[in-house]
């Protein structure tokens, strides 16, 4: 019986082309927008190498960095600048490249009961929310968005955790937006996801972050971990190539009327516009 299982597993593992696979750790926000699938499809089109099975795995940025530390992924796309820097400082990551960015936006109910639209900055808007105890929905999941949100609260000089008006959804970006919309609450969201969900939400964007929400590519250090260096390098080169950057620049234009991300590099004749703030 155990023998049957082993035979089945070995058979399956043979069919999956063993050690040549390229495991890409990707932040959920890149997958949830649908950009990941397009980039991977384009990569496969350009590099139809059957030896390398591309395995993009989407999960929270925090988790991806942990997987990278263990050498479980070959390359990662994340938006956690501080953790990324530490990964490289520790020698687990190398060759960090900027891929694209968008902005974190504070969104809230259309009537803006707190009047955050008048706030000069995100920390100022956060202070307004805390002062009036307006409901705020937090991801609460150690994602890139959540980490940035906590940094902003610190800048505002407020510790909201545990307050009755501060609610942690513990869910993905899209789900958290739906929760905020339903409760008539404020929340911080990356502009790309907001554009995707905008139609279904009773939420308006009010204040944009001054710092970009930067997505970076990092390769896992092949000197320290047993990774697929060649394929990872090829993928990194591809992502920073004009072709991939054009995919990023175009992504969302047709479906949502505006792009979701700003590419980091040249894309030829294309220009890109981030989500507009009134």
């Amino acid at each position: 019986m155990a023998l049957v299982l082993v035979v089945v597993l070995v058979g399956l593992s043979m069919s999956s082309c063993g050690g040549d696979d390229l495991v890409i750790g990707v932040s959920t926000s890149v997958r949830d927008t649908g950009l990941l699938d397009e980039l991977v499809d384009e990569f496969k089109r350009q590099r139809p190498d059957p030896a390398a099975t591309v395995k993009p795995v989407a999960t929270g940025s925090g988790q991806i960095i942990e997987l990278a530390r263990r050498g479980e992924v070959d390359i990662l796309i994340t938006h956690l600048p501080e953790a990324e820097a530490k990964l490289i400082a520790d020698g687990d990551g190398i060759d960090r490249r900027r891929l694209m960015h968008n902005f974190f936006v504070l969104v809230g109910p259309p009537d803006d009961p707190v009047g955050v639209r008048a706030a000069a900055s995100l920390p100022a808007a956060f202070r307004l929310i805390a002062g009036t105890e307006a409901t705020f929905v937090s991801r609460g999941d150690n994602s890139g968005t959540h980490v940035r949100e906590l940094a902003l609260w610190r800048q505002a000089g407020i510790d909201p955790v545990g307050e009755s008006w501060y609610q942690e959804s513990g869910a993905g970006q899209g789900q958290s937006l739906l929760v905020a919309s339903d409760k008539g609450a404020y929340t911080l969201v990356d502009s790309g996801t907001f554009v995707v969900f905008r139609e279904r939400l009773e939420l308006e964007p009010y204040v944009s972050d001054e710092e970009p929400n930067q997505y970076s590519i990092i390769r896992v250090n092949p000197d320290k971990h047993d990774v697929n260096e060649a394929a990872a390098l090829a993928f990194a080169e591809f992502l920073t190539s004009p072709a991939a950057q054009r995919v990023i620049a175009d992504f969302g234009r047709e479906k949502y009327g505006e792009p979701l991300f700003v590419p980091a590099g040249p894309v030829g004749d294309m220009t890109s516009i981030p989500v507009s703030i009134p």
Partner: protein, 232 residues
């Protein structure tokens, strides 16, 4: 409500327009869950035969563990299987993580306690001496097993259906060990989760509807097999 109606319409469109991606996802779901159920059945019947016929000491303990195993959370299974299959994990050399095989393993782990526990019940519906009678008629061990499984086929098919249902409807483990990779490990449930998180509820509902239809079709087939003999 309108959304659900739109979803069902979309589901019918996807099915009848022969949408290649949807068909690929359907076939993968079916193949992966069928393989997982098959493995669960082989393991489950072996364990169940041992527990039901040999009545070993500690059977109560084994049965209670199996019964609570029926409520094994898929996410826990996914996590454990993923850690086992990590490159640095004990089975890392197999390079199975983020492949359909990994989903098969995780679903098999989920389905096995269900199939086993229900198979024990199924085999216990047989007369305790029937195994002796079959052996006395001159059956080899395998012949005896085959005959006894055939005798208990009605409740055993119920066990198979329950195991398949648990496998194909599971999502947490599939995402964790499969990675929901387009064209490779995207199943109906993980695709549904993805569409939901992308805000495309219409497609999500369409995929859910297709999943339900698929489960119904498979279960219907089994039910027909199960009840046909009974009617005669």
């Amino acid at each position: 409500m309108e959304l659900i109606w739109d979803g069902i319409t979309e589901a019918l469109r996807l099915i009848f327009s022969g949408d290649a991606e949807v068909y690929e996802i359907m076939l993968l779901s079916l193949a992966v869950s069928a393989a997982a159920t098959g493995i669960a059945l082989v393991i489950g019947l072996s364990i169940a035969s041992f527990l039901a016929f040999r009545a070993p000491p500690g059977r109560m303990l084994a049965l209670s563990i199996l019964n609570s195993g029926m409520a094994l959370p898929p996410v826990v299974v996914g996590l454990v299987v993923a850690v086992m299959l990590w490159r640095t994990g004990p089975l890392g050399q197999l390079h199975l993580l983020y492949t359909p095989a990994a989903i098969v393993i995780a679903q098999a782990v989920i389905a096995t306690p269900i199939v086993t526990a229900l198979s024990v019940v199924a085999l216990q519906t047989l007369h305790p001496k029937l195994r002796l009678q079959v052996l006395a008629l001159g059956a080899s061990r395998w012949q005896a097993a085959w005959l006894l499984f055939r005798e208990a086929r009605l409740p055993l098919l119920a066990a198979v259906m329950a195991g398949f249902g648990a496998a194909i409807s599971e999502v947490g483990a599939s995402i964790m060990v499969g990675g929901n990779i387009k064209g490779s490990t995207r199943t109906l449930t993980t695709a549904t989760v993805l569409e939901t998180s992308q805000g495309d509820f219409e497609t999500a509902i369409a995929l859910s509807f297709i999943l339900l239809a698929l489960v119904y079709a498979v279960t219907l087939t089994f039910t027909i097999i199960q009840q046909r003999r009974r009617a005669s």
